[in-house]
Symmetry: C2
Subunit: 277 residues, 2 copies
């Protein structure tokens, strides 16, 4: 029996951005030593590195590479920018393939210079455009709805229903959705929409953190599990009832925690995962 | 022809909190001089005053008292607190009556110590409990959905669909909904839900401001109309197509603007109302 199953960590995955002060080599060492079994790699963590060697390094640490984070940002009023974004998404798919993961998160984008409807149309067209490359590389694209407070510049997809509708419209086994509790916990239709993507086998990722009271920064004030008001276990039970049995990914953006000693923060994450997730 | 119709201000209403540094007497003087025709009174502005005399003072300034802001906060895990809140809402209905308005806004409340479902049940029960007093006083209660970023402590009603569902369940001509663009602009179902409450004659209030990019504070960083990304004219057209022809209420909470000279801020509001609303 492995240490991680003894300690209940066999499904715990960390996003590299959660411990941003560490580079990916430090993250791999620390995660592995602590018994964490999964890692989701943010693209900035790969800068200046050989991607396939980095993937091997992570596997050598007995880490499963759960996802590459992230592609997307398809919406732009500027058509040249949209084309550049498609090229960048194709590069990201290549990186995911070289890294050795089969999943890529999509933060879909929004451009406040145009309507949300126009942004959504460009998101659909953007995903459709990169889908052949995703299929060829064996990468599944996870459409992640973002909290409505990010509808200005980050995503015009703000509910799981919208993500599921987008997934339906794209009609591909290489597309699915991601459920991040921080973005969707408030949604009265969350349970039914989780069941919906689960039925289709399109629930690809489950991200956790907590909503702090008060929240002092729209971007970088996420809480550790148990620190806020998100009904984490209830949402996890919905996700598991929907058939999801993959990694539970801790994705915390926090100016507060990034300023702490990251080893101590990692201990807190593991404790919070055991106690509240 | 009045000055206000000449200048297009006949439907402009200001919330007293928008110019918070002014007391209600100063607000009345300045609004009236500027040609503003409507005022929505926040309860804190009435502190230490005779309410009916204050209502008369506002009418003497040729101001229509559009609403009292606000009742609500029905959700609490603590039953004693819930009972106190009902009493306070009854007092608020009395104040609305004495003031001489026929409308009261409801910010429904949420308690992070319990589920959103429990909070919603208490909101329904709370409104039902105070409804007889509202009917007796001729006050219509406007359920205002709040942005999902306020689902922790301020409102478990976060979409216009939820507000409309609550309104349907309460089934009273003394209940309706309020549409505040700041809270609902991102919602893909906004147009259809505006049409829904309009059809029933239950669209009671329309509040405007703007969503700034970036938004630096979750509560007090609202923008002037035109400063952000809310499609104000499009939403106004939906609201008017739904049959609403009441006051257009400017409700801006802004640490930035509250620190400015309020006379200059009032000029900016009027310019922004003309140019963007």
């Amino acid at each position: 029996m492995s240490v991680s199953s003894l300690t209940g960590l066999s499904r715990l995955c960390l996003h590299t951005i959660t411990t941003r002060p560490w580079n990916i080599e430090q993250a791999a060492d620390h995660y592995a030593s602590a018994g964490v079994k999964g890692i989701t790699v943010w693209r900035d963590a790969l800068e200046g590195r050989n991607v396939s060697q980095t993937g091997q390094m992570l596997r050598d640490h007995d880490l499963t590479i759960v996802s590459l984070c992230r592609g997307g940002f398809f919406a732009s009023k500027d058509s040249v920018k949209r084309k550049e974004t498609l090229d960048d998404n194709r590069r990201a798919i290549g990186e995911a393939y070289e890294l050795g993961t089969n999943k890529m998160l999509l933060v879909c984008g929004a451009d406040p210079r145009q309507s949300l409807e126009d942004s959504r149309k460009q998101i659909f067209e953007g995903i459709a455009a990169i889908l052949p490359e995703a299929v060829a590389a064996g990468i599944r694209l996870a459409v992640e709805p973002l909290h409505p407070m990010y509808a200005d510049t980050r995503s015009a997809i703000n509910t799981l229903k919208q993500a599921n509708d987008m997934d339906d419209a794209l009609d591909s086994s290489n597309v699915g959705v991601a459920v991040d509790v921080y973005h969707v916990w408030w949604d009265p239709e969350l349970e039914s929409e989780i069941a919906r993507c689960g039925r289709q086998g399109h629930l690809l990722a489950f991200h956790i953190s907590d909503w702090k009271i008060p929240t002092t920064d729209l971007l970088n004030d996420r809480g550790l599990m148990g620190e806020g008001c998100i009904p984490l276990r209830k949402i996890r039970s919905w996700v598991e009832s929907a058939g999801f049995n993959g990694f539970i990914e801790v994705e915390i953006f926090s100016n507060t925690y990034w300023h702490e000693d990251q080893s101590q923060f990692l201990e807190k994450i593991i404790r919070a995962f055991r106690d509240y997730a």
